[in-house]
Every structure is written in C-alpha cells, then in structure tokens.
Symmetry: D2
Subunit: 147 residues, 4 copies
C-alpha cells in the first residue's frame, strides 16, 4: 500500500448533514421538541444519507431487505424550540457484517449548540426469512460499504 | 307499528365511549392537544368499538379486508389540556353498502364540555384487489351490521 | 378602478408548493401513509407559506397570536406509498376577518395523481385573552392579507 | 435487623405494569410497531406510575417542575405486531438527587416474549429558572421517594 493511500472507511469521518425546521407538531406543552420527535428526524437523515449514496430505502425494501433500529443510545443536551432550524448530522461509527452503528449529532445551524448526541444500531434483515441477513445483494452492499 | 316500538337500527343511537388520558406527547407548544392527535384517539375508539362487537381490526386485516378513512369532517370547539381525562364517543351515523359514516364527539368526562365533533367516512377495501369490496365475509358483515 | 385591474386577492389563485418525501414513520401496516400523517404535512406547508411571506409562525406566537385549526374537511383519493415524493399545495380559499380557509391538494410530483384534497379553517387567537382576536397587529395583518 | 430483612427501597424491585393495545397508527410499512412509538408508551407508563403514587404529571408541572428525559438506552429484541396486547413494565433502577433512572421492559401479556428493554434517565427541572432543580417540594419528593 502506498503511503498516500486513503485509509479504509475514511468517508465515515465526514458528517452527512440534514436540515430540519421545527413545527408545532414536533413540540410538547413545554414549548420545546418532544424527546421522541428526534427519532423521526434521525430516520429522515439516515434515509437521505442512503439516498445520497444511490439507494432509496424503499428500493432496499423492494429488494427484500430492511434496516431496522435494534438499539438506541442517545443523550439530550439542550432543548430545541419551535421555529428553530437545526442540523441532524449522521456518520458511520462502526460496522460488523450486517450490523451498523451510526453516530448522530443534532446541532444548531451555526454549530454552536449541541442538542442531542448518540448512536443508533441497525441490523439488515432479510424480509423473506424475517431473520438477520447473512449477506447483502451487491446493490445494497456497495452503498453500505461507502457509508 | 305500535307507538312505542324501537326504530330499526336503534343501536346506532347509543354512543360507544372510549376514555383517554392526555400525556405530554399529545400536546404542542400551546399547552393543549395538537389537532392531529385526535385522529389517533378516533382510531383507537373505532377499533375498540369493533372489538367490543367481536371483531379485532387485525382479524379483519387477516381476513383480507381493511376499513380505511376516506373522508374527515371535524370541528374543534374547545381545547383539551395536558392531564385532562376525556371521553371519545363513537356511533354509526349512516351506512351505504361498504361505506360507513361514523359520528364522533370528544367530551369532558362529565359531559359538560364539547371538545371535538364530526364525522369520519370509512370504506371497506379488499386487500387482494386493493379495491373497494363488493361484499364482506359473514364474520365482518355481522359486526358492521350491528354497529 | 380600471378594467384591467387585478382582482382583489388574486394571489390566492396560485398554489404554494411544499415537497415531501415519505419515510417509514409516515406509514402504517398497510404500507401506505397513515391518514393522520397528512396533517403534519399540511401544517408544515402552511407554515412555510407564511414564512415565504415574511412571517415565521414562532414570530406570530411571540407577538402574542396563534392560528389554530378549528375545522378540517378533507378527502383521501389515492394512497401514498413509502419512498414517494409528493407535493402539498396550499392557497387561500376564503377569508372573513380573522377566520381563514385554506384549500389544500396533495399530488404526485408530476401532478398526474391527486392523493388528498380539502380545506382547513383557521382562526387567529389572542394568546393573552385566549379568545378570538378582534384585530391583528400590522405585521401579521399584512402577511395574512397577502396570502 | 434480622438477616432476612427486606432491603430498603425494596418497592423498586416490583414492576409497575401498563397494558397497551397496538393500533394501526403505532405501526409502519413493515407491519410492526415503529421503533419511536415505544417512547409514547414509556411516557404513558411512567406518568401512570406517578399517578398511582398520587402525583399527576400535570400537577407536577403546575407546581413548577418537570421531569424530562435526558438519556435513552434501549434495545429492541422482538417486533410487536398490530393487534397485539403488550405490557410496559417500569421500575426505579437508581436515583441520585433529582436524577432518576427508570428501567423498562416491554413484554407480551403472558411474559413469554421480551420486546424491548432498557433505561431512561430523567432529571427534575425547575420551570422558573429552567435549570436542574436543587430540591423538590415535599409533595413531589414524597412520590419520587416512594417510586
């Protein structure tokens, strides 16, 4: 390997950014975003990340696979208020076969405030057997590899 | 017909009652229930109504039918606040074949305040053809008839 | 008034367009968008419409006013499937003082399929008195007028 | 104290049980409960637990305090399907001042299947200062202590 070779998986060091605007249905009585709402944004950010790599989530499903969340570990740092515009950051944290850990950070647009941080673990499922997939079709493998 | 005979379909004159407790995730920044949340309660009330008549909604789906909402006409009268306990009332308003109109009223437990009123229209769908069902299996027909 | 004057409120004839991508959390067991999910999109479309005219919804709230939904009349024509990209169209249907009726159409991106159509009625509320606003501050009135 | 005495705080060893019925709006395209939906049930279970001890969550808010979620660590073991009836179990895992860790298990009614397990961390907030509460009013302290 030459000295200037790219390290394997280096793309994972860059954050994918997904912007969100906060609407009333995201909030609760306290005037801030309800804690469960963030999971809808993490899902949207994750799917947009895959799509940017060429794989629509519905295409993955049509190919017979899914990528459900099997573990959530997140911390809430500061609240997000109605009308705020925030950025959901996503990047690959680790991968072991069909098990993928994504790191997330939800920040203010200027990056000065951290609202949420944590990891979500996903596992590829074969829809036919309804079990963990042993291998993935090339079209999916390629995209997961380039995460 | 004697003067004190019950009118046909009189069961539809009685309201089925489904109680709800308001939690934070039901509310928005204004401290009251977000307008879309009520649709989750109408769905729960409708399904409990069918279940009380002997038909679980998942059983209907397993039999190859669904009862999706095709029209919503509702008015919001007074807001519902976090911690409130309210009653979702449901009854048959009209039926024409596989098209059903349910009337709803959402009221305070003591009945003194009306929060929401209106109608939802549902149509039975055959899951195989993905079209409006022409007829319904006996198990479903019986329950719809006794609504 | 000259014969070629623009009719009053002519801006209302143009639809404001808000694009949506369908994610898993929007759908239900039937593989299509759950009927209540559309209300989150109508809310987002409505707020983006106001924002395009210069009024953030949170700014309206900070000024002491809200614009809650008081009536919903919508029909579901064809289902929307996961992965679909659709357009939420919004325009002013009618206005009487602080009472506003917005017309909505949810269509496929190419406009060939109509998914949802209908009206939402909103009423401006004064947050201090928690009653219907008699008049609106200039900053809000101007935006509502130009809807 | 005799050697077989119950350890202090033994009440925390008992699970509070909150039953849930799965409706369509809880599910996603895969026919099972969407992963974020469980947070609405954990919230309901937690509030019912406090209420059973004599403290409505809205009463806590009226007293000037909140108990927001600041950390989530949960694992999904097996999916929950539409129509299922399940039990959400809650108990105190640990407490350090105004910081509380609740353990949760979501199981089938007969206890034979584990669907979700994990911990949620909550911190009492003083609504006036919008900061972590130093102490709690007696009415709240008593209930938290008896968790």
């Amino acid at each position: 390997m030459s000295s200037n070779a790219q390290p394997a998986g280096s793309s994972s060091l860059e954050w994918h950014k997904y912007p969100v605007q906060v609407y009333p249905h995201h909030t609760d009585y306290a005037g801030v975003v309800w804690h469960g709402t963030y999971l809808t944004w993490l899902e949207a950010a994750r799917i947009e990340r895959l799509q940017a790599l060429g794989l629509g989530y519905h295409e993955m499903v049509n190919l017979g696979y899914e990528l459900p969340v099997v573990e959530i570990n997140i911390r809430y740092h500061t609240a997000v208020t109605m009308g705020d515009r925030i950025i959901v950051k996503t990047r690959l944290e680790a991968r072991a076969g069909v098990r993928i850990i994504l790191a997330h950070r939800i920040e203010s647009v200027d990056g000065s405030r951290l609202h949420v941080s944590g990891n979500l673990t996903l596992v590829a499922i074969d829809r036919t057997s309804n079990k963990i997939a042993r291998t993935l079709p090339e079209a999916i493998e390629q995209v997961i590899s380039s995460l």
